[in-house]
Every structure is written in C-alpha cells, then in structure tokens.
Symmetry: C2
Subunit: 300 residues, 2 copies
C-alpha cells in the first residue's frame, strides 16, 4: 500500500503542478529535493510571483524511521517504527477575488518489532479560503467535494464537511479560516471498508482537486482589483498565518519534530498585514465575509 | 503593592507614549479602554503610520478574578483568585535600520480563600530585534540594561541576559529572535530581597527603557534605505511573527485565556513577507545578521 500511494502522490504532484503552470501562464515551479536525516525525504515544488499565483507550493514527502517523541506520546506507545507519506499544497493567488486553497492527502503506517504493520490509515482533505465571497464558488467547490465523497459512501460528505468546519476554526478570533471543504483522518480498515477502499476514496478526492479549484481561477483571475482589495486580502492572510502557526496540528507537528522548515512554512502567504483592530465598513463585501465565517454554512 | 505598581505603570505608559510621540513627530497614539468580563481591563495605546513608527503599542492592563484553567494547571492549584497587572510594549519602526523593541513589566498576586496573598512576584524584561546590526546599538542597549541591573545586584545582569537569550529563541529556525536584553520572572520575596526591593528593581528597569532605545532611534531614523532593505526587514519580521505565535508563552497564554485579542496581537508587525527559502548573499550585511543571531553574544 505504501508503494501504491507514494506512486500515486508522485504522479499527482506532476499532474497538479503541470496544470497550475498552464493556468498561470508565466510562473514556473522550482523544485527542491531534500533528505531527512532520520530517514526519507521529499520533493518540494514552489511557485512565486506568477501571473496568477503570488506564492504556492505542491510538496510530496515520504519519511520513515523510529517514531518521533511527539508521535510516541500521541499514540501512547513506548517505541516503534513508522512510515508516512503525503502531498500537501497551498496556493495563494495574487488577485484578491481568487481564494486561497489548501489540500493534503496522506498515508501512515506503524510497525511492530518484527516489522509487521500494526496500524495503517489515510488522512487529508481540502479547504477554500476566500477574501471576497462568491457564493457560486463556494457551492462549486463543495459540490466537487461532495461528488468525490458520494462515489464512495453517502455518509462521507456530511461527516468530513463537518470535521473541516470544526478543524479550521480560528478559536481566538471566533471565526472560520475559510468556507471549509473536507477533512478526514484515521481512515483505517473496518468491516465495511478495506484499506484498498480507503485508498480508492482518498485518491478519488485527490483526482477531483483540479476540478474543484481551477474553474474558480478561470472565472476570477481577470477581475480588476484596487489597492483597497489587496490590503483587505493581506489583512485576511494574517488570519491564515494565525491559524497555521497557532492552531494547525500539522504545522506545529512539523516544527516540533525537526521537519524541513521551508517545506512546512511554504504555506505562509507572501505579503501579509496586521492592522490594529481593523473593522470593515458596515454592509460592505468585507463585512459580509466576516459574517459568513462566523458560522459554518451548508453550501449544498 | 498592587496599587503601588499599577500607579507606576499608569504613569510609565504616559511617560513613554508622550516621549515616543515627540520622537515620531507625526504619529499619535490612539487610546482604547477595554474591560474584561471576568474582572479588570486595560488601556491600550497604539500608534500606526507615524513618521518613525510604522506600528507600535504601549498597553497596560490589570485583571483579576478566579484563576483561569490554564493558570491553575501551571501552578498546580485546584482553585484560587489572582490579580495581575503589567505594561507591554512593542515598537516596529518604518526604517529598516532601526530595530524593533519589546518590553514588558508585570506583577502577579495569588490569594487564599480568605483573600490573603499566598504568593506574589514580578516579571518582565526588554529585548531588541535589529534587521541590520549596528554593534554600537547592541552595546548601548545592553549597557543600559546592565546599568539598571547593577544598581540593585551585580548578579542580575548576567543571569537575566542569559534568560533572555534562552527565552527569545526561535528553535524551529535555530536562531535568536534578536540580540536579547533582559528577561526575568517569578521575582519573589527572599531572605535577600523584600518585595519592595523587587519593585524597586523592576521600576528601575522600566525607568531606563527610554534611555535604552530612544538614542538608537535618534541615531538611525534618517538613514536612507531602499526597497531591498525594506524587503529584508519584512522578511525578518516574519521570524518575529513566528516567534510570537509559535513560541511566546505570553501571547499563547493570552489567546487561550480569552484575553483581548487586539491588545495581544498589536505586537505583530504591520507588513510582513514570507519568501520561500530566502537566503541572503554571502558576506552581505543581511548574512552577518543571521550569523550573529545563530549564537548569543556577550555585548559588554
């Protein structure tokens, strides 16, 4: 399974970065290969200063070895070996009318002393962070998420949509990071689903990613914007940074387990502002966004 | 003691904001009074888009009531009432040749069921974060720190200087946030020092703050700078954000105990950049800064 999934994310990284370069027209992904001292490594691909994407990364990694202390505590085991691989992407478009998108699909295995798998699971999801809300974009994104879920089990979309709303919550601001999408974790083998079923589901979601996002880019990338729109985008990007550095388990886990810092923090936006006590004008588009983010919405 | 110290920080806030307005010449502090639902409140003063200070805050607060859960865990007590007050300041100058400065002086009391003080202490310190290093500025700042310490005990400066280097360490980057200063906490009554001695020391440090920083501002505020210098400042401000949101106990404590978010996060810089895997040119001034931050220096 680990070879099957790693092959999948290798191919998917290629598919996604090729398509995004085509969409951007100007920017090119720069590739960095890196190795992890304790075992494994990754292939980081970052785009900066493109025509559409101000900054973005589409990274894969596969790491293995002894469980880091942080994972031993989390899983309450004294020792063990693990393998983990995944694809992580974040895209920060230049145009404030285009949303930031994040996705991650990953697979994890843990072994006993003889090297047999004792547990294995998939995790991941994808979510959208608009700066100006176009309801049809939110509906499109969620519709594609729902389609890829419904092909496997009708219970998946409502459950993983709720998980996403709960997870991407900036509790210190009492607002969502964005308008959600899917979030799932610990998708293990059960009576109902084999590990191959789990693979089939997660890759279904991955295969639908471009369909969920690229049409929104096509629709909005030429919308004219002013410096005021850009300022608002940069202020909202500050909330994105706050979530990733204060609350995101993945980021904090990476920072505390000696991950490759530049690959982890490629998720941070290129230009960000913090303005003291910024309040949008009443009844403005900016105020509408804040209002929508105050409570999860059923987009479908 | 609590009244004595609160009166002190009220006056000090006035002294510092008046002097900084004079230094800036253009910017004015905007005042916000706020109340804490569970008891107490604060007086936040923020300056934005001044001639010298791009953004800064000089805030006081005095809060009281039942110990929040986070503090009960930290102090390993089941219940109790507390009082805490302090002054916190952060100044982000516009000119990249001017360092960011942070300071905080605070006092804490905890009570038994009858309202008697069971423990009380002072904490605080100040530290400097340059974007371009002028060694004479670092020496000046540390000299004033040392002077205010030496007036009370010759062991204070070496100890509190080391604490500061240890505390303001961006472990995920393996570099210091800045060039340090003083950091002290849990300064309680001992055989050697009465609580009044502690008050006298902490207020000595507070009284020396303007002397430690304003001469540096006067010296550097007119140095011409380019967009390249500004970009470097904004990239380095990203490290400041990373420290405050990932590692700073005070910030995280505030975010997790329902503090006033805008007063806590006034510490974040106004304009920030994250550039993927940015590396300064070899032997440049930018590279020299990184090198200096890789290991604490004895400035005196």
């Amino acid at each position: 399974m680990k070879d099957q999934f790693y092959k999948y994310i290798e191919d998917l990284q290629e598919t996604i970065t090729s398509k995004l370069e085509e969409v951007d027209g100007v920017g090119r992904f720069k590739e960095d290969l890196w190795e992890r001292e304790e075992g494994g490594g990754g292939r980081t691909r970052v785009i900066e200063n493109g025509a559409v994407f101000e900054k973005g990364g589409v990274n894969i990694s596969a790491v293995h070895g002894e469980l880091p202390a942080a994972l031993r505590n989390q899983f309450q085991v004294e020792e063990g070996n693990f393998f983990a691989c995944g694809l992580s992407l974040v895209l920060h478009p230049k145009n404030p009318f285009l949303p930031t998108v994040h996705a991650n699909w990953r697979y994890f295995e843990m072994y006993d002393e003889s090297g047999n798998i004792v547990t294995q699971w998939f995790g991941g999801g994808q979510d959208l962070t608009p700066y100006y809300l176009f309801e049809e974009d939110a509906i499109h994104f969620h519709s594609v998420c729902k389609t890829s879920c419904d092909l496997h089990d009708l219970s998946f979309y409502p459950k993983f949509k709720d998980n996403c709303d709960t997870y991407f919550w900036n509790s210190h601001r009492n607002e969502a990071r964005g308008i959600g999408g899917l979030f799932f974790d610990y998708l293990k083998e059960t009576d109902e689903f084999s590990i191959q079923d789990r693979f089939n589901f997660v890759t279904e979601v991955g295969n639908h990613f471009l369909e969920s996002y690229v049409p929104i880019v096509a629709l909005r990338k030429e919308v004219p914007f002013t410096i005021a729109h850009k300022n608002w985008q940069e202020i909202r990007r500050g909330r994105y940074v706050e979530f990733n550095l204060v609350h995101d388990r993945g980021t904090l886990f990476g920072l505390k387990t000696n991950g490759r810092i530049e690959s982890i923090l490629m998720s941070l936006p290129p230009n960000v502002q913090w303005v003291y006590n910024h309040q949008p004008e009443k009844n403005s588009k900016e105020a509408k966004l804040i209002q929508v983010l105050s409570k999860p919405i059923d987009w479908i």
